[in-house]
Symmetry: C2
Subunit: 324 residues, 2 copies
């Protein structure tokens, strides 16, 4: 089975890890392949190095190297480089990277500087983390450098800050007036992205942030059209449980675009291509958009088996929609 | 007293640390300033980052952060970044940098990328290590990127390798046919370098490698002429004890340029500007070039007081030569 998934960071990565676990435990899914289209709007140049937070979170999580409690970054990290940069007074001081993580960013920046595309760089990193051996292809949504900026007003008029500054330094507590994706007007989908959507058997939207993760990927020219046009059923997993994001600040992001923080409202963002919608049990009785087959399941990814159950339910819903 | 010193890496840095200790313990030298002109021929771009081995060794040694037994790099280092780059298969595998050291190189590369000159970058690093507070100004010999290459023949004809590859990977065991400094033809002395030589009260040549450290600095257009022309006495310290380098591979370097590994022969390399020559006791009875006042002292820098004694003897010789 060819599965294609759009993914942001922690939520997407944990869902994908569950998906792989579900495939591993399901004999009839043996030989399935998973193509992940990762959000690169979070990407940022820090300390002169190119950092791809969502891509790296997927790599580390699927490769078994993630800091489990934190959800991102490497396990068993040290912070010697960060400490030295602090001693040298190199800003920003609000973004902390571990030493092993720096290794990733140094390699990525070196390779990009040598002329490799982000796709090619990501393929090398995926190799290091064993993704090809697990049938996983990780594609950045685009090789064009794009950056999500957030327009905020802290009392001195509106100004745009990098998404990471809003997310990490401001903890999304300063209201976002809107999101602007610098570079998106000249972005093209990375090689393989549109084909992965068009030729999939099922397309999954993990419970990633619908605005600044999935929403950004949908903004890459051609992606939304490919989702509308694909013969594959598109099944989404709601990022909201009991009207709140399980983690992150999806509610603050939805508020910025005038969308209520409800599973039903999030589904409307995808209404033009969504076929199936997996919601939390707490939303079982809520009316969802017409024409979308909705299924309620417990959506808390408390551990890998729980995530596997959720991914399995999404996949089964997709298989049902295409008649298996 | 205004002291100007040319310096390579470990030997130069230890000598300079001794010089500062000697100034600190000598009341009549209170308020002295030391300008160090550092060799940048060793500089290399590794993992996409600009590394200045000799400059960094001076910074770390004078700033109290050096790995004492090793002579270079940082004390109490970890190697997480290096390990990750190894896992990613990023060459070279023969040059190991510690995590704190990586912090230096990341900051330097960032600042160079922002358009700062190597002089400006070095001044920032010197600030972090407290050098200005000790009256020390550290100047790279040039802001022009230059690199010492070594022509070797491993049986397949001559080829040029970076100095660091010859020094570190080959351990200088493959005979050097000659040294070529890429970029030197278009290099200019960094701001302040020539003035520091011209206006000094004493110019010192620490026991650095006469070919690939001091010799490279002397090759920067204008430096040798400034040494010939300065009114300050120029006093050198022999890098050889009993006809052997105390550390490093000065003998292999001298051999490549057809010079015997003796204190007398090294003095001839400096004959056009050298006024005083400090040699080891073991060379006390050896004839040195005419017109150079020679003094014999124990030259092993076994600890900081020993280095201070050597630096003090060199400084005193200079002061004698200029009539104090």
């Amino acid at each position: 089975m060819r599965v294609t998934a759009l993914s942001g960071g922690v939520g997407g990565a944990r869902f994908l890890r569950g998906l792989l676990a579900h495939i591993d435990r399901t004999p009839e899914l043996a030989g399935s392949t998973v193509t992940v289209i990762g959000n690169t709007g979070d990407d940022i140049t820090l300390f002169g190095l190119r950092v791809c937070p969502d891509i790296d979170t997927v790599l580390y999580t699927l490769g078994g190297g993630v800091h489990e409690a934190q959800g991102w970054g490497r396990s068993d990290e040290t912070y010697a480089v960060h400490g030295e940069l602090g001693a040298l007074g190199v800003p920003p001081d609000w973004f902390s990277l571990g030493d092993k993580d720096f290794g990733t960013h140094i390699a990525r920046s070196l390779w990009l500087g040598q002329g490799l595309s982000l796709s090619q760089v990501t393929a090398r990193l995926a190799q290091r983390w064993g993704l090809p051996d697990r049938g996983v292809t990780l594609l950045p949504m685009t090789d064009t450098p794009v950056e999500t900026h957030v327009v905020v007003d802290e009392g001195e008029g509106p100004r745009a800050v990098h998404f990471q500054e809003w997310w990490v330094r401001m903890r999304a507590a300063v209201p976002a007036e809107r999101f602007v994706v610098a570079g998106m007007d000249r972005a093209t989908p990375a090689p393989g992205v549109l084909d992965a959507i068009r030729t999939a058997d099922v397309v999954l939207l993990p419970p990633s942030n619908p605005v600044v993760s999935i929403g950004i990927i949908l903004g890459v020219p051609g992606v939304r059209d490919a989702l509308r046009g694909t013969r594959a059923p598109v099944v989404g997993v709601s990022p909201l449980v009991s009207g709140r994001p399980v983690r992150g600040h999806a509610d603050a992001c939805l508020s910025a675009i005038g969308i209520p923080a409800t599973s039903a409202a999030v589904a409307t963002l995808y209404a033009d291509f969504l076929d199936g919608w997996l919601v939390d049990d707490s939303d079982a009785d809520v009316a969802m958009p017409d024409g979308v087959r909705t299924l309620a399941r417990p959506l808390l990814m408390t551990d890998i088996p729980a995530a596997a159950d959720i991914a399995g339910a999404a996949l089964d819903l997709g298989r049902d929609l295409r008649g298996r």
